[in-house]
């Protein structure tokens, strides 16, 4: 009989606890869904805004660098073209001048003697040497100009690279700041969620405790009723009328001790 009560008690307690756990699980799932629904738009908005800002900064930096490089290339090409055209003009001027002078000299010197012709030839060679040296000097100047232009272009490119690196560092700093803010937001949300879950856990624990107490009291009441009915049955079956009378006599004596009769 005792084991029967124990099994019944265990089954009743197990069913009560199982029901309480199911209720608690449903409450926790509902709470998690609610918190996710509440916090997800904020996270999504912050992440999208950060991505948009970062992309915008990178595009601006690339556009600026591209414009600097293009400007430098245009400037260099223009300078080289100016120097080249200038050199060609000088060369053509000297060539035309030399050709005209040669023709005039040939016309003039047709009637001069060979010595004078040789002397004239020397003068002409000297003039050609001078022209060649001037042409070399011009070419050297052009090469120097090209070198300076290349230096300017490389310097401009280096500055553009440094500017891009600086912009990337700035973008990285902004990203770190946004990440820190997101982490802080996430930490605050987690703390809020923990507090909320703790509060719900406390309420659920109280409800489970109250339910358990109520079930135990109900079960105890049923057990007591069952025991009483069994005891009454046993008393009727096992005790003789004389023994029953003896118990009744004791009851009257107890009533007398309590000054009821």
């Amino acid at each position: 009989m005792n084991s029967y009560f124990t099994v019944e008690l265990l089954i009743g307690t197990f069913l009560g606890l199982l029901l309480a756990m199911v209720i608690l699980l449903v409450l926790q799932v509902r709470t998690t869904n609610k918190v996710n629904k509440l916090t997800y738009p904020a996270y999504e908005y912050v992440i999208e805004k950060a991505e948009h800002d970062a992309e915008k900064l990178i595009q601006e930096a690339q556009h600026k660098a591209q414009s600097i490089i293009t400007e430098a290339q245009q400037s260099g090409a223009k300078t080289i073209a100016d120097y080249t055209s200038q050199a060609k003009e000088i060369h053509s001027e000297y060539s035309s001048a030399l050709h005209a002078q040669t023709e005039s000299l040939e016309h003039t010197m047709q009637g001069i003697s060979s010595e004078e012709t040789a002397a004239l030839k020397q003068v002409t060679d000297a003039a050609e040497d001078m022209i060649e040296s001037q042409e070399k000097s011009i070419l050297a100047n052009v090469a120097k100009t090209n070198q300076s232009i290349e230096q300017l272009a490389s310097k401009t490119e280096q500055e553009a690279t440094e500017s891009i690196a600086h912009l990337e560092e700035h973008v990285e700093e902004v990203g770190d700041m946004l990440e820190a803010q997101l982490k802080a937001t996430d930490t605050a949300g987690q703390a809020l969620l923990k507090n909320h879950i703790a509060a719900l856990q406390g309420q659920a624990d109280k409800q489970v405790a109250a339910y358990t107490d109520a079930r135990i009291k109900l079960l105890d009441a049923h057990i007591e009723q069952l025991v009483e009915s069994v005891v009454l049955e046993v008393l009727h079956m096992q005790l003789t009328p004389s023994e029953q009378a003896s118990l009744a006599f004791k009851a009257l004596k107890e009533a007398k001790e309590q000054h009821i009769i």
Partner: protein
């Protein structure tokens, strides 16, 4: 009047319940009337006893035969109505305790309880016995208009949880 009191005391000495008292008074009245209103009666006491023996239950007859002959001899045809009426009124005035018991108790046990109650509570007390199986393990009673339950069920309710505590101890 003194005979009336003596008669009542004698009846109460061997009668402890209201049912027994009323049945025996009826039997006494019937036996006396049969004996007294019979022209052939010479010994009133013997005639009444005979009439009682012929009409009463064995348990009643056994008790009533132990009454002294003088109790029966005081009845005459002229005073029997008056005496029986006075006797019934006197019985109605006796203190009564309504007693609820689980089964019918043996006569001797019930007599012992009545004797004790007469010593402790009120002389010439009568039990109005009612059978109630729910009051096993004790009894219940009505005294001075108040119901008191001293059965096992009532006593266990005075100490809530004691049964489950014992069960948990065994478990």
């Amino acid at each position: 009047m003194s005979d009336q009191v003596t008669l009542l005391q004698a009846i109460c000495a061997t009668t402890y319940t209201v049912a027994d008292m009323r049945r025996r008074l009826g039997l006494l009245q019937e036996g006396a009337e049969v004996a007294l209103f019979n022209n052939q009666t010479t010994d009133v006491a013997a005639a009444i006893k005979t009439a009682i023996t012929n009409r009463g239950k064995e348990s009643d007859v056994v008790v009533m035969m132990e009454w002294e002959d003088a109790m029966f001899a005081q009845f005459t045809a002229s005073n029997i109505r008056k005496r029986i009426t006075a006797l019934q009124q006197a019985v109605d005035a006796l203190p009564i305790m309504t007693l609820y018991i689980p089964v019918a108790f043996p006569k001797k046990d019930l007599a012992a309880m009545a004797m004790w109650c007469r010593e402790e509570c009120a002389p010439q007390l009568l039990f109005d016995v009612r059978i109630d199986p729910k009051v096993a393990g004790g009894c219940a009673f009505v005294w001075n208009g108040t119901y008191h339950d001293f059965s096992f069920t009532a006593q266990s309710k005075k100490y809530p949880g004691i049964i489950t505590e014992q069960l948990h101890t065994y478990a």
